[in-house]
Structures are given as structure tokens and as C-alpha cells.
């Protein structure tokens, strides 16, 4: 067993525990944006697509890299676009007395 594999396993396990801690604190009001935001985060697979494209030398390799890049690009941009669109709808009371407004901006 190599050190690199061990450190990969450490990262994986610790990230799951950190994820558990952080995500249990998200209120159910935000569960849909949360799922969309985590959707966007797994768009990190685009790094894998970049690396796959950089190593491709055969036709099969290029086809796999192309589809991977297409999927990952859709995942990243769509995920963040949708999350932001939903979150901007979550507002405080719209009828704005001036002092509430400043509180919201700070």
C-alpha cells in the first residue's frame, strides 16, 4: 500500500465526516438549493475531463475525453447557474422600510 493511496483514503474519509457535520446544519428550507449546490460541486469532475483530454492520443481516447468534457461542462455551469437562480429568490420581507434594507445589504 503506497503513501499516496493512504493519503487519498484519509482525504476521502475526513471529507465525508466534514460534509456530514456541515450539511446536518442546513435547514430544510434550503434543501433544494443545497442539493443543487452539491450538484455543482461534483462538477469538479471537470478537472478529470481536462486531465483525460491532456493524455488522450487515440480516437477512442479523444471521444471519451470529448463526452467527459461535455458532461462535466454541463454539470458545472448548469449546477451553479441553477443554484444561484434559486438562492436569489430567497428574500426577506419585500416591503422595505429603510432600516431593514441596510441590514440586508450589510
Amino acid at each position: 500500500m503506497t503513501t499516496s493511496l493512504m493519503s487519498d483514503i484519509y482525504m476521502f474519509v475526513l471529507a465525508i465526516l466534514v460534509g456530514y457535520e456541515v450539511i446536518t446544519k442546513v435547514p430544510s428550507t434550503l434543501h433544494t438549493p443545497l442539493m443543487s449546490a452539491s450538484n455543482a460541486i461534483h462538477g469538479i469532475v471537470i478537472i478529470g475531463a481536462v486531465i483525460t483530454a491532456s493524455q488522450a492520443r487515440t480516437d477512442a481516447g479523444y471521444v471519451l475525453a470529448f463526452v467527459a468534457a461535455f458532461f462535466a461542462g454541463m454539470n458545472v455551469v448548469g449546477g451553479y447557474g441553477l443554484t444561484d437562480r434559486m438562492l436569489q429568490m430567497f428574500r426577506k420581507r419585500p416591503a422595505p422600510p429603510a432600516h431593514d434594507r441596510t441590514k440586508e445589504l450589510s
Binding site: 443543487s36 462538477g43 436569489q88
Partner: protein
């Protein structure tokens, strides 16, 4: 390790830290958008680092650049259009499609690595194990998510599709997939076997999702979200990249938590959801006559009656359910709430499974300009019911059934909104039909409950008109 490699690795670490902080900021609607932007920033840093590393390494061919940029930009454009255009009621389908492509991309990254190294025996044991896992989990997520999206969109029957021999096919696919996987794990780097595993996994994703009913989709979408995260993390093991491992693990945890929360709120176990076949409608006709029988003791009211009760109440709790989302009545609900707020305390009490994915109802109401401070979670709302003058239930059924507090029926133990504790109750519903649990709702025969039979959208519109007339006179 040279300077560039170190800088690139630090950039991945920065991105991963950004993701964690971003998820932390999602603990309040006030900071959530900041979090989402931070996460986006982290993603840009990570992609810039990956490109820097590739340029520095100088291994990428011109064709590689073309493939990467055309594919990436094309996919990004498609994703952007979907994110911009989707109606808020259709968000679950789109989230499901993004799950599919994420899982698909993870499997392709692993397959790309395999195809490159196949033939010269250069695949180490660890890479082979990770690759095999990824070409199973990735394609299962891909086809499973597409079927789930199809069911949510109505392109695939949302009823549980069960046919004779389905279990046999699933079992056969499992045997083929596991057999071919073992062959690969034994150290044979055969591309034919890789394709066989991928095909078996794709078919398995279909047979796994088809028997699951539309009502269980919140659980399934959350579970597939978790699978995608795991697939991406495994891809990180294949190419030894910490960014993918951490990002994927965070999503795996998030999807896992939501799966368990949803299943608990629906009073189901994750296993029973996956086995499928629930709510096939078989129980509907059988208990139908009982519903008609109960109809004798219910109290029907009109829009005017409802409006009078609401107009003179000083505290109103609105309980929206799936029927409100299905009728797209969120704007009417928001308008009524705003109208009543001129003289009363009004808020929405939202059950975790209201809508078609976790937290979906909140997004629909936020879109209709309901401030998030008026959206209360079940635990916060329940103590408020005893002091409420009117609880207005719109298109919600099982989640308000007091029978859940007693053992011995299909909803026993299910967390419910304590609507029956309000001083009076108004239910807007199309008919006396059953919810997914297929049983009568005792709330409807409670003497303090008035039933207003109508579609959620037109019913609310009538009540708004009547309230306005009352206030004006």
C-alpha cells in the same frame, strides 16, 4: 515536486476549502448565496489550476485542446440554457439530469484512463479497483438518473413499472457485471470486458429505477445525488486527484444525509423505496368505498365561508402540499398570505416532503415572493398550531393525518404537521381521494374541519376574491 506542481496542488486545496465553507454558509438563507458564489470561485480556481498543470506539462495534443474546449464549452452552454430556462416546478428533473452527467463524466474519466493504459499491463492494482468501481457506480447513476428525470417529467410512467421476470433480469445483470468485474480485477486489462461492465451497469440503473413510484422520487433523487458524489470521488482515486476526492466525498455525504431525512419524513426505509412497487394504486379502488362512506360526516364549505373564517382570524397557518405544486398555485397562495397579513399573523408550515424533491416547496414559495422568514419548518411550526385560529391545508394529505400518532396503520410514526390542534381547519382539496399511503385522513371528519372541494389554484383565487370583497365592504 516542482514549483508549478506545488502551486497546482495548493490551488486544489484552496478550492476544496472553498467548497466546505460554501456548504457551511448554506446554513442560513441570508448567507447561502454568498456561499454559492464562493463555491463557484473555488471551482474557477480549480479549473485554472488544472489547465495550468496541463499547459506546464506540455503533454496535451492540438486535437486534445480542440476536444476539450469544444466539448467543455458546448456542455457549459447546454447547462446554462437549462439552468436559465427551467421552471421552478421542474427543478427536480434538471437536478436529476445534472446528477446523470456528473456520474457519466466520472465513469468516462476512469474509462479514458483505462483505455490509455490497456494492453501494456501498466494498470496498478489500486487504479484497477477504483476503475472497476467507477465504471459500475457511474453508469448506474447515469441511466438511473435519466429514468428518474423521465419519470418526473412524465416521459416515463411515474407508476412503478414492474413486469414478470424483472427481478430475474436484475439478477442476471448483477451476475454478468460482477463476473466481468472480477475478470478485470484479476489483472486482465480487456477493453471488451470494460464495455461489458459498463453496459450491464447502464441496464442495471434502468431496472433499478423503473419499479420506483413517482411519490418516492425525493428519496431516489437524493440517493442518486449521493451516488454521483461517490462516483466522482472514485474518479479522484483513479487519477490520484485530491480535488475530485474531497468534492465527491462532500456530495456523497450530502446526498446520503438527504436520502435518510427524506425516507424518514415519508415513513419509509431506504431499502423499501429501492425495492419499489409501493403505491401501485392497487389499494386505491379497494378502499375507495370507505372514502365515500366517510363523506357522510364531512362538513363542506364554500369559498365565501372560508373567506369569512380567514378574514376574521388573527393567526393563520397555511400548509401547502404536493397538490399545490401540481396545480402551480404557489402565486395564489403567496397572494392570499400577503392579503391576510394586512390584519393577521400568517406563515407557511412546510413538511419536509412537500413538493417533489427535498425542500422543493420552499423554492416554489420563494419564487412567488414569499419572504423566507414566513417559511417555517415542521419542528418550528408544530408548537404554533394550538394558538392558530385557522389552519389552511392546500393539497396536502398524509402529512396532516392524525392517525400517524397511533400505531397500526400505514402512516404510523410518520412525522406530521399538527394541523388538528388548530382552532379550526380549512382543507382545499379536489376530492376525497387518498394520499400515497392509501388511507382515509381522520382530519377531514373532524367537526372543526371545513372541506372546500376545488382545484388548489382556482380555489385559492376564489377565496382571495371573497376576502377582498369582505375587506372592501
Amino acid at each position: 515536486m516542482n514549483a508549478v506542481t506545488i502551486a497546482v496542488d495548493l490551488a486544489y486545496l484552496l478550492a476544496a476549502a472553498g467548497f466546505v465553507v460554501a456548504l457551511h454558509l448554506m446554513n442560513s438563507p441570508a448567507t447561502a448565496r454568498k456561499g454559492s458564489r464562493l463555491s463557484w470561485l473555488g471551482m474557477i480556481v480549480a479549473v485554472a489550476a488544472a489547465l495550468t498543470s496541463v499547459i506546464h506539462g506540455g503533454t496535451i495534443t492540438t486535437t486534445g485542446w480542440i476536444v476539450l474546449s469544444v466539448g467543455g464549452v458546448g456542455g457549459a452552454a447546454a447547462g446554462l440554457v437549462m439552468a436559465r430556462r427551467v421552471k421552478m416546478t421542474d427543478v427536480p428533473q434538471v437536478v436529476s439530469i445534472f446528477n446523470a452527467v456528473g456520474g457519466g463524466a466520472a465513469a468516462l474519466v476512469a474509462a479514458g484512463d483505462f483505455v490509455r493504459l490497456a494492453g501494456d499491463g501498466g494498470i496498478s492494482g489500486r487504479v484497477m479497483i477504483a476503475t472497476v468501481l467507477d465504471i459500475i457506480v457511474g453508469p448506474v447513476t447515469f441511466s438511473g438518473s435519466l429514468i428518474a428525470a423521465g419519470k418526473l417529467q412524465g416521459w416515463v410512467s411515474s407508476r412503478p413499472v414492474v413486469f414478470p421476470g424483472a427481478r430475474l433480469i436484475t439478477a442476471a445483470l448483477t451476475v454478468v457485471g460482477v463476473g466481468a468485474s472480477c475478470y478485470l480485477l484479476a489483472g486482465h486489462d480487456s477493453i471488451a470486458m470494460l464495455i461489458l461492465v459498463v453496459c450491464a451497469a447502464l441496464a442495471f440503473g434502468v431496472t433499478m429505477t423503473m419499479p420506483i413510484g413517482g411519490a418516492d422520487m425525493p428519496v431516489v433523487v437524493a440517493l442518486l445525488n449521493s451516488f454521483t458524489g461517490i462516483a466522482v470521488a472514485i474518479a479522484g482515486f483513479v487519477i490520484d486527484n485530491g480535488g475530485l476526492i474531497i468534492g465527491g466525498a462532500l456530495v456523497g455525504a450530502s446526498g446520503g444525509i438527504l436520502t435518510v431525512l427524506m425516507a424518514r419524513a415519508m415513513n419509509r426505509s431506504v431499502i423499501s423505496v429501492m425495492l419499489g412497487g409501493f403505491g401501485t394504486g392497487d389499494s386505491g379502488p379497494a378502499t375507495g368505498p370507505a372514502a365515500v362512506g366517510a363523506g357522510a360526516s364531512i362538513r363542506r364549505i364554500s369559498a365565501e365561508d372560508a373567506a369569512i373564517q380567514l378574514a376574521y382570524a388573527s393567526k393563520v397557518i397555511i400548509v401547502p402540499g404536493y397538490g399545490l405544486a401540481a396545480a402551480q398555485a404557489q402565486h395564489e397562495a403567496a397572494e392570499l398570505a400577503a392579503l391576510l397579513q394586512e390584519h393577521a399573523t400568517v406563515f407557511f408550515a412546510i413538511h419536509p416532503v412537500a413538493g417533489r424533491m427535498p425542500g422543493h416547496m420552499n423554492v416554489l414559495l420563494a419564487e412567488a415572493n414569499v419572504p423566507y422568514t414566513d417559511l417555517k419548518e415542521m419542528d418550528a411550526a408544530n408548537p404554533e398550531f394550538p394558538t392558530a385560529d385557522v389552519a389552511l391545508v392546500v393539497g396536502a394529505n398524509d402529512v396532516t393525518n392524525p392517525a400517524a400518532r397511533r400505531p397500526g396503520n400505514p402512516v404510523s410514526g410518520m412525522p406530521i404537521l399538527n394541523v388538528d390542534q388548530a382552532k379550526s381547519v380549512i382543507v382545499i382539496k379536489r376530492s376525497m381521494g387518498h394520499g400515497y399511503a392509501g388511507i382515509d385522513n381522520e382530519l377531514y371528519i373532524d367537526p372543526k374541519t371545513g372541506m372546500f372541494f376545488s382545484d388548489a389554484k382556482s380555489g385559492l383565487a376564489e377565496i382571495i376574491a371573497s376576502v377582498k370583497a369582505l375587506v372592501a365592504s
